[in-house]
């Protein structure tokens, strides 16, 4: 890599990282503004309980979401489940549902609440993060190992355990990290289901107008997130290089399910019904019941949703592009790090960029309020779109980074070296060989970021330009006043806006 590129990438990465970790600086600032209040919030005995419950919830959700995703991915990619890959789009749609809506649907329709309810709800909200990359990974793995395992007399279960699982482990790792951070930082779901975790306590401190106390608890939460990130870095460092020898032939063996065909189809259908069907059926019933009892028409309830939908589409698309671009320099640095000394250090450095995903939206929001106010004389960005987009990007870089680095990991430098050896310039090599290899990963990451912004609420509430009311805002505002009928089109419009992107996402991971 030419020196100018290296310097450029390093500078770009440092800028992105500085932005992403800026909420941590705000947390520190808020604690030191009133250390007494911060200490009295952090030194309470029940902070340990809250922390333990946060960790337990995040761990349970991560394990169950990964297990569900692996099972579904295996059924879709490697067996003759009826419907096959056509299940992918409906199974990916839970990404489009805001967590407070899902939680409310489960509490109302299934009567689940508390820890178990949150566990179920978050599992069904987050499993698609792992499902799509796992389907892609399972299609690409080296089948020779599985064949070898089978010829050595291992059954399908042990064969999967010893030959298949190690190959999808890197995918499980980064998606698991995203899911864990999601579960740590989510508030919408735990608020509705009344699970007393750290985010819940942060919110109750804020309700007491105790910013230092809220910051102290946010500090505990970000320490947990940092420990997760470091843990992953260590895991990678100890295991050596990932599997770069990608399968080029499409997978040919499809395991016949025979009598298990029906249960497999039922599992797919059941997951779709509960994870997507239930929340949106609830919204539909709000709509139809409301229409029955009022003089409103379908048209008059849909029209107010159009402008917010356009705004949501705008900010989501722009954030998706920003997040993808912001993730690129770090991706390339990590990629370069794969084959040089200091790799594990670089991975940890890159992993730090994921911290934004482990912070609750209000923490990011208020951090940027502070930054916006402090620099108002300089940039005049307070309550403007750029500051809102910056906050979204802090949250979403993590989602863009995962698939992009995964794609880059499969790009062996031999291929780049070969092109350079044949006389191509470095830039041309990247344009012709490097970019096509990582583009699907970048696109997938951008699509994930898009879906997060569509349903994002706390950052939107705090930072949007006055009057820039999005679908998520309208849904929140209308539900506050129990205007279910008017709220329903907002929720359904979110599903429509997201569906198109889920379609792109599925395509991106199929490559």
């Amino acid at each position: 890599m030419p020196r100018s590129w290296r310097v450029g990438l390093a500078i770009a990465s440092v800028i992105v990282l500085a932005l992403v970790v800026s909420p941590l600086a705000y947390i520190g600032f808020a604690i030191f503004r009133d250390p007494g209040a911060a200490w009295s919030a952090a030194a309470r005995a029940d902070v340990w309980m809250l922390t333990a419950r946060s960790i337990t919830l995040a761990a349970c959700v991560t394990v169950s979401a990964l297990a569900l995703a692996t099972l579904l991915a295996w059924l879709i990619a490697r067996t003759d489940t009826p419907g096959g890959r056509h299940w992918l789009i409906p199974l990916a749609l839970p990404l489009a549902a805001p967590s407070f809506l899902v939680a409310e649907a489960y509490r109302g329709a299934l009567g689940v609440d508390g820890f178990l309810g949150a566990w179920l709800a978050m599992t069904l909200i987050t499993y698609p993060y792992a499902l799509l990359p796992l389907v892609a990974a399972l299609r690409r793995i080296n089948q020779d190992l599985e064949l070898a395992a089978r010829s050595l007399g291992l059954g399908p279960w042990r064969g999967f355990w010893s030959a298949t699982l190690p190959q999808i482990l890197p995918t499980l790792e980064w998606t698991g990290l995203l899911i864990g951070l999601y579960a740590l930082s989510d508030y919408g779901c735990v608020a509705i289901l009344e699970v007393k975790v750290l985010t819940f306590a942060i919110e109750s401190r804020r309700a007491a107008f105790d910013p230092a106390g809220a910051a102290a608890l946010s500090g505990v939460l970000s320490l947990l997130a940092l420990l997760c990130l470091l843990g992953i870095g260590r895991l990678r460092g100890s295991r050596g290089a990932g599997t770069a020898d990608a399968q080029t032939e499409p997978i040919s063996i499809r395991i016949p399910l025979r009598v298990w065909k029906l249960p497999a189809s039922l599992l797919c259908a059941g997951t779709v019904a509960i994870a997507v069907g239930l929340p949106f059926a609830m919204a539909l019933s709000w709509w139809t019941t409301g229409l029955e009892h009022s003089s409103e028409t379908i048209r008059s309830t849909i029209l107010p949703a159009l402008t917010p939908a356009a705004r949501t589409l705008q900010v989501s698309l722009i954030t998706a592009v920003i997040a993808a671009i912001a993730a690129l320099p770090i991706t390339l640095i990590i990629h370069r790090g794969e084959y040089v000394r200091g790799r594990s250090w670089m991975e940890r450095f890159g992993a730090l960029a994921l911290i934004g995903y482990g912070l609750p939206g209000v923490v990011i929001g208020f951090a940027l309020v502070r930054i916006g106010l402090e620099t108002q004389g300089l940039f005049g960005l307070y309550q403007t779109l750029p500051l809102l987009l910056a906050a979204y990007a802090i949250k979403c870089v993590a989602e863009a980074l995962g698939p992009a680095t995964a794609a880059a990991r499969r790009l062996h430098t031999d291929r780049l070296d070969a092109a350079i050896g044949l006389g191509a310039s470095f830039t041309r090599t990247w344009v012709r060989v490097g970019w096509p290899a990582i583009a699907p990963g970048v696109a997938a990451g951008a699509a994930l970021a898009f879906l997060t912004v569509v349903k994002e609420l706390p950052i939107t509430l705090i930072l949007r330009p006055t009057g820039f009311d999005t679908l998520a805002f309208e849904l929140f505002d209308l539900l506050n006043e129990a205007r279910h009928m008017a709220a329903a089109p907002m929720a359904l419009m979110m599903l429509i806006v997201s569906s198109a992107v889920v379609w792109v996402l599925v395509g991106a991971f199929k490559e």
Binding site: D46, I192, S204, I318, L385, A443, D477, L478, A500, G507
Partner: protein, 351 residues
């Protein structure tokens, strides 16, 4: 794949171009506005903790009646108060319209609100405004026991929240401890019955299996769904459900006119110290307390008018606005939120 990415890129470009144009326009507007504010005043900036879907029409009417341009920013009252505290002296806001007195008190306590015009204050009973006159209530909402009309006998409903700890109600009651109205009610209870009695009541409620909800609306939903039979809420949420699900919606309000659990709270308004548009802000406060707007609250939001002249909403067996005085409670003196929250944490009601 390539096709999909190109398709996405085209959509992105279509959406991004107008957005970016509007961004730069907003930026320019903003700069223009700031300049304009300093010279001519610019639009009146209102931070509203009350929902857009509720007070939006009212805001439009203010502009059409007075010709004063406004810019309204909506979020929850707690978020708004925290935002105002974070902004401090640099706030762009002129007026803070809040869902509850607690948020106004928190902003006022930090010296961010100015004392209001005394004519405006005088129109509202003393129990419903700040002691130092920095905020005034604009509409009243009663705490009630919302109950199932199917599973609760209307004659056997308690006359006081203190009775809810009886075995008869075990596991049938819901409340919203993180909700500001609930916390205000607990503060009032501490003033009225004393800290020890309040603590004992909270503990007894926990022991008898009270269920937690985030806010008032889910409580009513849960009563309709059969999850609980009775809940401690504000009175006016039920109207929304009845409007959309018909009058046979199986939940009703039970008012407790002589109990602290049936106290009246208010939504209120304050003007920011930093406001450069005090005259317009005063007009807005006046507008909220005008007869016409007070009637509008009664009609559209089902809340109780607070000025002495305006009539109560139809149909509601309303506690009259003197009820707080009978209970010897003054909302202006209930700023002791921190001690209430400490008690809620101590008793394990809140984390």
């Amino acid at each position: 794949m390539l096709f999909r990415i190109i398709a996405l890129a085209i959509i992105a470009a279509c959406a991004a171009v107008p957005a970016l144009l509007s961004t730069s326009a907003t930026g320019a507007d903003q700069a223009g506005k700031t300049a304009e504010r300093d010279e001519k005043g610019g639009p009146l900036v209102i931070y509203s903790g009350r929902s857009k879907s509720l007070v939006g029409p009212l805001m439009d009417r203010f502009t059409s009646e007075t010709g004063i341009q406004i810019e309204v920013r909506y979020a929850g009252s707690t978020d708004m108060a925290n935002l105002l505290i974070e902004e401090g002296r640099r706030t762009p806001a002129d007026v803070f319209l809040s869902q509850d007195p607690g948020a106004l008190g928190a902003v006022g306590d930090r010296g961010l609100l100015v004392a209001l015009d005394s004519d405006a204050l005088q129109r509202v009973p003393a129990a419903y405004r700040a002691l130092d006159g920095v905020w005034v209530g604009v509409s009243g909402r009663a705490r009630v026991l919302a109950h199932s009309t199917i599973r609760c006998d209307a004659d056997a409903l308690p006359a006081s929240v203190l009775e809810l700890t009886e075995p008869h109600w075990r596991g049938r009651v819901g409340w919203a401890p993180s909700n500001a109205s609930f916390q205000l009610f607990i503060t009032a209870m501490r003033h009225h019955h004393g800290d020890d009695a309040t603590r004992r009541w909270l503990q007894a409620m926990k022991r008898s299996g009270v269920r937690d909800y985030t806010s008032n609306r889910p409580i009513i939903q849960a009563i309709a769904d059969g999850e609980i039979d009775l809940g401690l809420t504000n009175h006016y949420y039920l109207a929304g459900f009845q409007r959309e699900r018909g009058a046979d919606f199986p939940v009703a309000n039970h008012f407790l006119p002589d109990d602290v659990g049936g106290m009246m709270s208010v939504a209120g308004v304050g003007v920011l110290t930093e406001s450069k548009r005090r005259a317009s802000a005063a007009r807005f406060v006046e507008f909220l307390l005008s007869d016409q707007t007070q009637r509008w609250f009664a009609r559209e939001t089902g809340e109780f008018p607070l000025t002495t002249e305006a009539p109560a909403p139809e149909g509601a067996a309303a506690p009259d606005i003197r009820a707080l005085e009978r209970l010897d409670i003054d909302l202006g003196s209930l700023s002791d939120l921190r001690a209430t929250l400490d008690m809620l944490r101590e008793t394990g009601v809140l984390p």
